[in-house]
Each structure stands twice: as C-alpha cells, then as structure tokens.
C-alpha cells in the first residue's frame, strides 16, 4: 500500500493515470504526445506506476500497451472509506428486511 500512496503523490503520475482513464491501452509514444513531459520522464513515471500495480502492460506485436489498473485504489478505498460505511449499509439492509417483513405480514 505504501507503493500506491507514493505513486499517487505526484501530479505528473496522476496526469498519466487520467490519460489512461480517458483512453485505456496507450503506447509510450501516445502518452508522451499528450503530456508535457520528456519521454524519459514518462517512462520513469510509468515504471513507478507499474511497480505499484496501478498500471499494467500487455504486448501487441512490438508495442507495449499501458492500462490503468484501479484495483489497488479500490483496496485503499476499502481500507480507509468503505469500512466506515458498514454500519450505515447494515442499517439499510436491516431497514429493507424490516419493511419487507411488515409488507408480508400485512399482505396476509
């Protein structure tokens, strides 16, 4: 998880993720063309994003395609946000069950 926070703590890398969100599966060349960064810069940032599993690559012939992998971000959301919602979700589930039980009883 440290890798993910570190990878996200840079505006250039967040721009790269945004670029992949807009269009997934881009080559290094395509990413360089749309960002104000040197090829080495983009390449270095992509390596950090890949190490954090935020970017995954596949090969198409000689080209390497880069894909946004939001799974680690989802793991963070789960760790830091969603679990605080659990009581509320449980309350909603309980409310639904209570209302449906009432309706069934009234129906009889």
């Amino acid at each position: 998880m440290d890798d993910v926070f570190k990878a996200l703590a840079d505006p250039g890398r967040r721009d790269l993720l945004d670029a992949l969100f807009e269009r997934n599966g881009q080559t290094l060349g395509e990413l360089c063309a749309r960002l104000d960064m040197t090829r080495q810069g983009v390449s270095k940032h992509l390596a950090i994003l890949e190490a954090a599993n935020l970017v995954v690559t596949t090969r198409r012939g000689r080209e390497k395609l880069h894909y946004l992998n939001p799974v680690p971000i989802n793991d963070i959301a789960e760790r830091w946000i969603n679990k605080y919602d659990e009581p509320r979700l449980q309350a909603l589930a309980d409310l639904k069950r209570a209302l449906e039980t009432t309706r069934e009883r009234e129906g009889r």
Partner: protein, 152 residues
C-alpha cells in the same frame, strides 16, 4: 483477437488451485461476486451462467479451460433489457504463481458500447472482494450487502 479494453491485476496471498476454485465454484463466487453463482461444467464449448437467485445476470460459453492457470469465456449481460442484443465480449483470467503470492490478471475485450459502460466500474470491486475473501476469509461488506439492498 482484439486488443483488450481493460486489463486488471491483483496479487493475492493464496495458491493457484484455491484461486481457480474461487473463480469456478458457485458456492465460492456468490460470497464475493455480487451474490452471483457462476455455474458451468467448465469444458470448452459449455455454457457459463452467472445466476443471482433465479435471475440470469451473465451468460457465456467456455473458450479456454486450463486449470489452474487460464480460464476464458464469452460474456453477455442478460439481466438488463437491451444489452443482450450486443455481441458477446470476452473475459480471460490468467493465474501465475509469484513467490508466496499469485497474480491474477483479468482482461476484458470485444466490449460493445453499452456493455462497456456498464461493466467497466465493476471489476476492481470484484477483485478487491475476491482478494479479501481469500486472504481473510471475509468478502468485502459492500459486495455482501449490495446484493441484499439491490436485488428483488
């Protein structure tokens, strides 16, 4: 085969065999995958059905079944009117052992526009929930509770 539209990976502290079981056993899938039972006899050409209760959510056909490393099937959304007319997409699950962990890569390709919009946000949650279930014995509460709230 077209270039994938989505490639998702997660690293899970488990074995390839357990992960395979988690993807192919309906009793397992319903714990982490929006309460869907994924049913098939897992031979190439056989049907695959994601059932939530009595509702057919996803229908497909087994394309590759090479346990415990590669599973692929076609994927058509069936529970929402309109989507079933789109041509089926394809999902590949690739499992590779890496030290004490296993890397699961999910690629989804050939997605027609409506299905693309519908499914794109779902995979990260499914994979986080699968990871949580295999590593801690608990699926994510969001996945457990979403089914209760949304269905029926």
């Amino acid at each position: 085969m077209e270039t994938p539209q989505f490639v998702y990976t997660t690293y899970i502290a488990t074995t390839p065999e357990k992960l395979w079981e988690a993807l192919t056993n309906p009793g397992f899938t319903e714990q982490y995958w929006s309460e869907s039972r994924v049913q098939s006899d897992w031979t190439v050409g056989s049907p695959v059905r994601h059932m939530r209760g009595e509702t057919l959510m996803i229908a497909g056909e087994v394309l590759v079944c090479d346990p415990p490393s590669h599973l692929a099937y076609t994927w058509s959304v069936r529970h929402i009117p309109g989507y079933a007319n789109e041509p089926p997409s394809r999902v590949d699950f690739e499992i590779e052992p890496l030290g004490a962990d296993v890397r699961l890569t999910v690629t989804h390709r050939d997605l027609a526009p409506a299905t693309l919009t519908l499914i794109s946000g779902g995979w990260p949650l499914v994979l986080s929930s699968l990871k949580s279930l295999l590593e801690t014995g608990r699926a994510l509460h969001v996945m457990r509770l979403s089914g209760q709230i949304v269905t029926r």
